[in-house]
């Protein structure tokens, strides 16, 4: 073989390899789905499926799942990967615009990339809109559309940390259009929309209407709880203004609620402050006062109503209690006692019921040994209520009770009382978390006995 032929062969081989390398460099990140998006429109892709678009959408989704599994850690490092993934998502839903599973999968998967969170919200909302579209074939909104819109709201609220406050509200509001939208979503919408419109009145009106229209006790209760929470927030806004006014005068925080309620000047200033804030959201820019429940402790399924307070009406605890200032870890803190009373009832009802059973079983006697009592009836006695007042036993009535909440008699136990450090009075609260049947009631019983001694003495 002549040397020039060998040389030519080598040159040709080298050129061939360079050509292959160039082709490889330009094509290694090019996938079919890229070209699909680049060179064909959504409509064209749909046409090319020749009536099998639903199946191709399913297969594209499987490809998407595989792609995600292999590449999701690279989404932030290599934007091309993410772009390919997103283009596959777009191609899939172009082929089946009502592909419920695809929306939910890509909505979740896109949030793996930092830049994908906004895309995920938009993708999910676009999906919700597509699933809600009606025409001569789909005459009603897709009933499960709400799940896609709810996912969009989740992305807006948690993944995007409410960066755009309207998004969560918009998504929940849209989800409500679906026939199968569950009750809880209405309440989530009310809360999300409060970020956009701080006016409590529309939210309260909606919750009250839904509660009054519902024949379900649980739904009624949930709406009531949300109403109470919103009203409490507004009351806190007022009391904070009053506390601030007190601080400006006295240079210290108030330690008793009476320091605020008995001082007309402070109340006037707080009212002015609240009205000033509320004028920003109220219709016509006229400030109004906080809302109060008409009946803070309604009968089950009773009508829920609220009214806007008129001067000189003070905030009324929506849980039916009263407002106090208790010391929380060295700082004066406003508390409504009503919620504590409700919690206490839920604590006391089962244990007092068991106490009655005990009396029935033991000729009307009250248990002397609470350890034995709690073990016999497999009962765990609470150490204290939510404020830190200990559980006590009234031997006369043979009934458990908690002492009344008052500023004069602050709770001795955490969270609002100081934890006692002396060996005699030390209460091991961690035992309450212990599952062992022996240790937990023992701690509770010690406290109950101490309370009994107090009440007797």
């Amino acid at each position: 073989m002549k040397p020039k032929f060998v040389l030519l062969a080598i040159v040709l081989l080298a050129l061939y390899l360079v050509g292959q390398k160039l082709a490889w460099d330009s094509q290694r990140y090019d996938y079919v789905n890229n070209y699909m998006n680049r060179y064909t429109s959504a409509k064209m892709r749909k046409v090319l499926t020749a009536g099998h678009d639903a199946l191709l959408a399913d297969l594209a989704m499987i490809r998407g799942i595989q792609f995600y599994g292999m590449n999701y850690p690279l989404f932030d490092k290599k934007p091309t990967m993410y772009n390919q993934f997103k283009s596959l998502a777009d191609a899939t839903i172009d082929m089946d615009p009502r592909h419920f599973e695809a929306y939910r999968f890509w909505g979740f998967a896109m949030t793996s990339a930092q830049r994908g969170k906004v895309d995920a919200y938009r993708f999910l909302m676009a999906g919700a809109h597509r699933m809600a579209a009606t025409d001569e074939v789909f005459t009603i909104i897709q009933p499960n559309m709400w799940e896609v819109a709810k996912d969009a709201a989740y992305v807006a609220e948690y993944e995007l940390q409410k960066a755009t406050k309207e998004w969560g509200c918009d998504a929940y509001t849209f989800a409500e259009k679906a026939r199968d939208c569950p009750e809880f979503l209405h309440r989530l919408k009310v809360l999300a929309c409060r970020d956009v419109d701080p006016d409590p009145i529309p939210a309260l009106q909606e919750l009250a209407t839904r509660a009054n229209q519902s024949g379900n006790v649980a739904i009624w209760q949930l709406n009531l709880d949300h109403m109470r929470r919103i009203i409490s927030e507004e009351h806190k806004r007022f009391w904070d203004a009053a506390s601030q006014a007190y601080y400006e005068i006295h240079g210290a925080s108030p330690t008793r609620i009476e320091q605020l309620t008995k001082n007309v000047g402070i109340l006037k200033k707080a009212v002015q402050e609240y009205q000033k804030v509320s004028s920003e959201w109220a219709e016509g820019g006229v400030g109004q006062l906080y809302p109060n429940m008409v009946n803070p402790l309604p009968e089950k399924k009773g009508k829920l109503e609220f009214r806007i307070a008129q001067i000189p009406e003070l905030p009324e605890d929506p849980y039916g209690g009263e407002y106090l200032i208790l010391d929380l870890q060295g700082k004066p803190s406003l508390v409504g006692t009503g919620i504590n009373e409700l919690e206490r009832e839920s604590f006391l009802e089962p244990i007092n019921q068991t106490l009655k059973e005990y009396q029935k079983d033991h000729n009307g006697e009250c248990p002397e040994d609470l350890d034995a009592f709690s073990q016999e009836y497999n009962l765990r006695l609470p150490v204290a209520d939510g404020f830190g007042y200990p559980l006590l036993l009234d031997y006369g009535k043979c009934e458990f009770y908690f002492p009344p909440v008052s500023e004069e008699n602050p709770p001795p136990l955490p969270p609002y009382g100081e934890e006692k450090k002396t060996a005699d009075e030390e209460i091991d609260l961690t035992l309450m978390e212990d599952d062992s049947a022996d240790s937990s009631p023992a701690s509770a019983t010690d406290e109950v006995k101490a309370g009994t001694a107090d009440s007797d003495g």
Binding site: K43, H52, A54, M61, I62, V137, T139
Partner: protein
């Protein structure tokens, strides 16, 4: 009528002896069976995948049977000269064409019936293993398959038409094209509508409209696109032109068969 039935049954017997049919059947089983494994990859969309894959397989392989068996039926008879024997027995040419159509549609329907049994069996097993019982799914699947049966009437008639005057390969290609065009007439109409909004496109649009009205509207019979969504909407909320679709399928098939009979009657052997 007896002649048509006899030719039809003979065509059916001949078709089920065809190796091509068994090859197609094998791949049909493979495709539908694969949904059994693919559904595990589809996260929550497992049942959806089984339904879509099953319905698409039924439709696509129905087309293949029509294409690869149907297009050979008449040319084979002409090539092997058996057509002379049949025609000399007093069988009219149009009876021969209708008999061939009957035999082929029977073959396609038997295949679809087998696939339907298999598909519904897989769905039943899927629901049993996932503790889901969805009677409504079977209701909609049967509806979608019924519409597919009507679509197959058109496809088989078109295959018979082309095979009555053309070569098998050309007939197969043209039948495939008609199937694809038939699936996109709705999009085609969108295109015509867009074109008609432009100035000076009247003649072009009129020409396109003629083509549109000549095409079969297989997408009117394509329920598999919506079946998954219709399940959730309920029968009252999901409106599909069943009556219009069925009417179109029957009348279009009749017209195509008429043309096929006409073309075959003019043909010289």
């Amino acid at each position: 009528m007896i002649e048509i039935l006899t030719i039809g049954l003979n065509t059916f017997r001949e078709a089920i002896r065809s190796k091509v049919l068994y090859l197609i059947l094998f791949f049909m089983v493979l495709m539908i069976g694969s949904s059994f494994f693919l559904e595990t990859l589809a996260l929550d969309g497992g049942d959806r995948l089984i339904k879509n894959l099953g319905l698409s397989t039924i439709s696509f392989f129905g087309l293949l049977v029509a294409m690869f068996i149907g297009v050979n039926l008449i040319p084979q008879e002409v090539e092997s000269k058996t057509i002379y024997t049949i025609v000399s027995q007093g069988v009219q040419r149009w009876q021969f064409v209708l008999g061939k159509f009957l035999g082929l549609i029977l073959t396609v329907y038997v295949n679809i019936a087998l696939m339907t049994v298999m598909l519904l069996g897989i769905l039943l097993y899927y629901f049993a293993t996932t503790d889901m019982i969805e009677g409504v799914t079977f209701f909609w699947m049967i509806k979608a398959i019924f519409m597919e049966l009507l679509a197959m009437l058109i496809v088989v008639a078109v295959a018979i038409l082309f095979s009555s005057f053309s070569t098998p390969i050309l007939s197969a290609v043209m039948t495939g094209c008609v199937y694809i065009i038939g699936q996109m007439t709705n999009d085609f109409w969108d295109y015509i509508r867009l074109q008609s909004e432009k100035q000076g496109t009247e003649i072009y649009c009129a020409f396109l409209k003629v083509i549109y009205y000549l095409c079969p509207h297989l997408d009117m019979l394509n329920l598999k696109k919506q079946v998954v969504h219709f399940e959730e909407l309920g029968a009252a909320a999901a409106s599909f032109p069943y009556g219009a679709g069925a009417f179109h399928a029957i009348t279009y098939t009749a017209v195509i068969l008429f043309i096929a009979c006409l073309a075959f009657s003019k043909r010289d052997f």
